[in-house]
């Protein structure tokens, strides 16, 4: 072991019943560097970090963790934290109904004889918030802040615990481009102050921007360690998927634009809960055989616009018209939208899309029960036949259609969600963040499905926060900013800069 290594993990093997999640994984992280761990979903990145932080206690894995020159046997997260290893997960571990300063010191409160010293707590909180460059009233409830700010509070919390090694698990997955950039800058800043970080990320642009070195994991094995000077995107992708991907986006044959199938005319939506217009004068058109993108920052009102079109399940007060196939329609429930041939694949597949403890075949057929039933009685043979067909058609990888959806990987869950809506035979398909949190290989497959559907005459509206995806897949792009429709681009004229400019009005 070299002197400048802060962390060495040596031939770590971790098995779960039926799966080998980690197989002789080796990583080393030098003092004062930003080290990235990249890999497809299911490659074992998160498992490795759980081993490191003691969530999987010593004894449940084999191999060694050597941190700061000592072999460590962490039995729980508390021990790893007290040694200066702090992990920040995708699901933030904050208390939404506590204030900022309370959150920073939960678990290691500043107290005198068990009585809280609030003055010192607040003073310290301000100090750490300054360190992460967050200017926010410390008396605010954390739940009222955006995800980006919450993440910074997590980091401030880590700093307050004398962190030596900061681990961030996909920190930018839920952030918009602005917040992401801030976060990356902060990491570089912390590096200068001597804090080593490990970052797990899907976004290779970030890797190129700030990584000092990286380790690629695939199928629970260490594939390669790459140093700063050798980092390039193609090389990383090749190692991640174990094959060349020439193009991230599949080619689509030239399309023929048909009639307008969906149009919103001066559509406004007022939300009583926040007491303001969340959609403001939206005028969008979608033609047959077209892929249209809704670009914009997170929270700009794109999902809300989609909800308005999809039968207004949140009961916003609407004005303006929605025109489907040339006819103005009134829709009061998603059911009405489905009858109009509209389908909506939601952005949060676990929360709004799938019934996790039911089987694949039950999930797929829930969108049109009439098709598999006669006078209210379900024909199970028919149900399973349809399910088999979709599993084959869009290649959902599962041992059986009777598998519970919760046991599938993210990419396959997303495919089940798409299959569920294809089962309803829609003419218009709205995809809300269709590739969030799924790996490169599965993304490519989703894109291929999109192209196939459009070729069959379907019209698709994609909401995405990833600009490359919008630019790679769409024929036309609308940009939404704070509920306002700020720009429309043909794909020929669109550039990332122009879109960002319109999105940050």
């Amino acid at each position: 072991m070299k002197q400048d290594d802060l962390l060495v993990m040596k031939s770590i093997t971790k098995t779960f019943p039926g799966v080998k999640a980690l197989d002789e994984v080796n990583i080393n992280v030098k003092r004062g560097e930003i080290h990235f761990i990249v890999g497809e979903n299911g490659a074992g990145k998160s498992t490795l970090m759980k081993v490191l932080s003691g969530i999987y206690p010593h004894g449940t894995y084999s191999g060694d963790i050597i941190f700061d020159g000592e072999i460590k046997h962490f039995h729980n997260i508390k021990q790893s934290v007290s040694d200066g290893i702090v992990i920040i997960n995708q699901e933030l571990a904050l208390f939404p109904n506590l204030t900022v300063y309370e959150n920073i010191f939960v678990g290691h409160e500043i107290s005198k004889a068990k009585i809280m010293d609030w003055d010192k707590t607040k003073k310290e909180a301000v100090k750490y918030l300054n360190m992460v460059g967050l200017d926010v009233d410390i008396h605010r409830m954390v739940g009222s802040l955006g995800v980006g700010k919450q993440q910074l509070i997590e980091i401030a919390k880590a700093l307050s615990q004398n962190v030596k090694l900061l681990i961030l698990d996909e920190p930018t997955a839920a952030l918009n481009e602005n917040d992401s950039e801030n976060l990356l800058e902060l990491l570089v800043e912390l590096k200068k102050q001597g804090i080593t970080s490990i970052m797990i990320s899907h976004k290779l642009k970030e890797v190129e921007a700030i990584a000092d070195s990286l380790t690629v994991l695939r199928d629970g094995k260490t594939i390669v360690r790459i140093e700063r000077e050798d980092i390039n995107e193609q090389e990383i992708i090749r190692n991640m998927v174990g094959r060349e991907i020439e193009d991230i986006f599949p080619k689509r044959p030239p399309y023929e634009v048909g009639d307008v199938v969906l149009e919103t005319v001066h559509l406004n939506a007022f939300d009583h809960h926040v007491n303001r217009y969340i959609v403001n004068d939206a005028n969008i058109k979608l033609r047959k055989g077209e892929v249209v993108g809704l670009a914009g920052l997170m929270g700009a009102g794109r999902t809300e616009l989609a909800h308005c079109i999809f039968g207004n399940p949140d009961n916003y007060k609407l004005s303006g018209r929605i025109i489907v196939h040339g006819k103005g329609v009134e829709m009061h429930h998603p059911n009405d939208a489905i009858k109009q041939g509209i389908a909506y694949v939601s952005e949060d597949r676990k929360q709004d899309g799938l019934i996790l403890n039911e089987t694949i075949s039950q999930n797929i057929t829930i969108s049109d029960l009439k098709k598999i039933s006669k006078s209210g009685v379900i024909d199970f043979f028919k149900q399973n036949q349809y399910a088999e067909q979709y599993v084959k058609d869009i290649d959902i990888r599962t041992p059986s259609i009777l598998q519970d959806v919760k046991n599938l990987s993210g990419g396959n869950q997303q495919k089940v969600q798409v299959a569920k809506w294809l089962f309803a035979d829609p003419k218009i398909l709205i995809l809300d963040e269709p590739t969030r949190g799924i790996d490169v290989g599965a993304k490519y497959e989703i894109y291929t499905i999109i192209n196939d559907l459009v070729a069959q005459g379907m019209s698709i509206l994609i909401i995405s926060s990833e600009l490359p995806e919008i630019l790679g897949m769409c024929d036309r792009i609308y940009v939404i900013a704070e509920g306002l429709q700020t720009a429309e681009f043909d794909i020929k004229d669109a550039t990332p800069e122009k879109i960002m400019e319109s999105a940050t009005v």
Partner: protein, 477 residues
């Protein structure tokens, strides 16, 4: 020599059958746990009571006692599946029972009119509860707690705070009557014919489904499991038929219960309404966005609960041959307990009506059995509470059971047996060495740590390999 081989072969076939069966039961322990528990309870009480417990008279009586809880538990299962609760059904049931009895006995209404009136009331009340919960978003706990108080009051009004005996033949038939019998040699032929048809339906229905699945290439359950299940079910049904036939045949209370359960089982497993109810319970947001009206489903579930409360209340009053202001308390809690003992998940989306009925039988068996065995009556609620707690703990522990294949493990043990033993030996040795090194405080103690963790890793690897072994891996080779 040949004979020995044949014996060995037959022995392995039998062993394999049981290993497969054990794998299936172990893998699906959540579905079978309660049946095993019920079996244990039955056998225990039978021993304690010299087999009177399972004898014809007591067993028939037990099922009649269970009827009103079973019916409530069926409705409660759906309420809990949709993530709600209904505390009002005990007093609503008792009130509706009183409504019908008082209508017939004191006000001279014909039975059908009294029942119709009660039905109208319960549908309106159910719809009201549903709308309050689903549309106005008052927590179900509060709505139904209020309902519980209100209907307790209404029950006292309706009965005028007096116990009113029933005289009408409708109540007599329903409460203590039996289907017509046709006696042959001390056994009732009608029961035997009905039961026989049931058994035939069970066997041929099962075979038919398997055939159709095979034709359509849909995976079937293992043959071993199917055969065992069918045989066990046939034995149970056979015993029930024998019991009823040798006593007084099938009681109306049992008949009504079975009809309710069959309808609800069919509704929950085979209809679009059932699918929607479970979808709403499993993930209300996803259900709403799939075009299902969550509001409508909740209203339907509360109305169904109300109708079952009506049936339950009338059954209870009929069995006791009176209505009284003292009826009602704890009914809803028994129903909730039965649903939970039956594996219904408080998180929503999971629960079977049949299992809730088994849960009711468990509860009533405890009451009945302990009374029969002469156990101190004060013990009964303590034991019931413990059983409820154990059932839910069991359910939580078995939530993430992974498939196990004992046949594969059997093969793997043969194949990797030597490796396992040598790895165990190496691990033991490494442990001793490490302890020694620590004691002597050697400088290179870290080397022994390495050796120890490596040996542990090797052992775990082989153990894992055996634990997850599947039969197919070995049969192919």
């Amino acid at each position: 020599m040949n004979i020995l081989k044949t014996i060995k072969k037959v022995g392995w076939i039998i062993q394999k059958y049981f290993l497969t069966l054990m794998s299936m039961i172990r893998t699906n322990i959540r579905d079978y746990g309660m049946f095993i528990a019920l079996f244990v309870i039955f056998i225990t009480f039978s021993f304690m009571t010299d087999w009177i417990f399972l004898g014809a008279i007591n067993f028939t009586n037990l099922l009649n006692q269970t009827a009103y809880v079973s019916v409530l538990a069926v409705g409660m299962t759906l309420v809990i599946v949709t993530r709600q609760i209904d505390l009002s059904v005990g007093y609503i049931g008792a009130f509706l029972g009183a409504y019908v009895v008082v209508g017939v006995e004191n006000l001279g209404q014909p039975v059908w009119l009294a029942l119709l009136g009660a039905l109208v009331i319960t549908v309106i009340v159910g719809a009201g509860k549903g709308i309050l919960v689903a549309k106005i978003k008052v927590p179900a706990f509060v709505v139904t707690l209020a309902g519980m108080f209100i209907f307790k009051g209404l029950l006292m009004f309706r009965t005028n705070n007096r116990t009113i005996p029933t005289t009408h033949s409708f109540f007599k038939n329903l409460g203590i009557g039996y289907l017509p019998t046709f006696d042959v040699g001390g056994y009732d032929l009608i029961t035997i014919v009905i039961g026989g048809l049931g058994i035939l339906l069970l066997i041929f229905g099962g075979i038919n489904t398997r055939r159709k699945n095979q034709k359509l290439n849909i995976p079937n359950e293992k043959l071993e499991l199917f055969i065992t299940k069918t045989v066990v079910m046939t034995l149970i049904l056979g015993y029930l038929i024998y019991t009823f036939a040798s006593f007084r045949g099938i009681s109306y209370l049992l008949l009504v219960t079975v009809v309710v359960v069959v309808i609800y089982h069919f509704m929950t497993t085979k209809t679009t309404l059932g699918r929607r109810i479970y979808a709403v319970g499993g993930n209300p947001d996803a259900a709403e966005l799939s075009g299902i009206s969550v509001e409508k489903i909740l209203v339907i579930v509360f109305i169904s609960m109300g109708i079952l409360a009506l049936i339950s209340g009338v059954m209870y009053a009929s069995r006791l041959q009176n209505t009284s202001p003292n009826h009602g308390p704890f009914w809803e809690l028994y129903a909730i307990a039965a649903a939970f003992i039956g594996g219904t998940s408080a998180a929503g989306g999971v629960g079977k009506v049949i299992n809730a009925v088994i849960g009711s039988v468990v509860i009533m068996s405890l009451k009945n059995g302990m009374a029969l065995a002469g156990v101190d009556a004060n013990l009964e609620p303590i034991i019931l509470g413990s059983v409820l707690l154990l059932a839910v703990i069991f359910d939580i522990f078995t939530r993430n059971v992974r498939p196990i294949d004992y046949v594969g493990i059997h093969y793997a043990k043969q194949k990797f047996g030597d490796e396992l033993r040598s790895a165990q030996e190496a691990f033991r040795q490494a442990k001793i060495n490490l302890r020694k090194a620590k004691k002597e405080d050697l400088d290179d103690v870290i080397e022994y740590e390495y050796a120890f963790t490596n040996a542990q890793g090797e052992l775990n690897k082989i153990k894992d390999k055996i634990r997850v072994a599947k039969e197919e891996d070995f049969v192919k080779k």
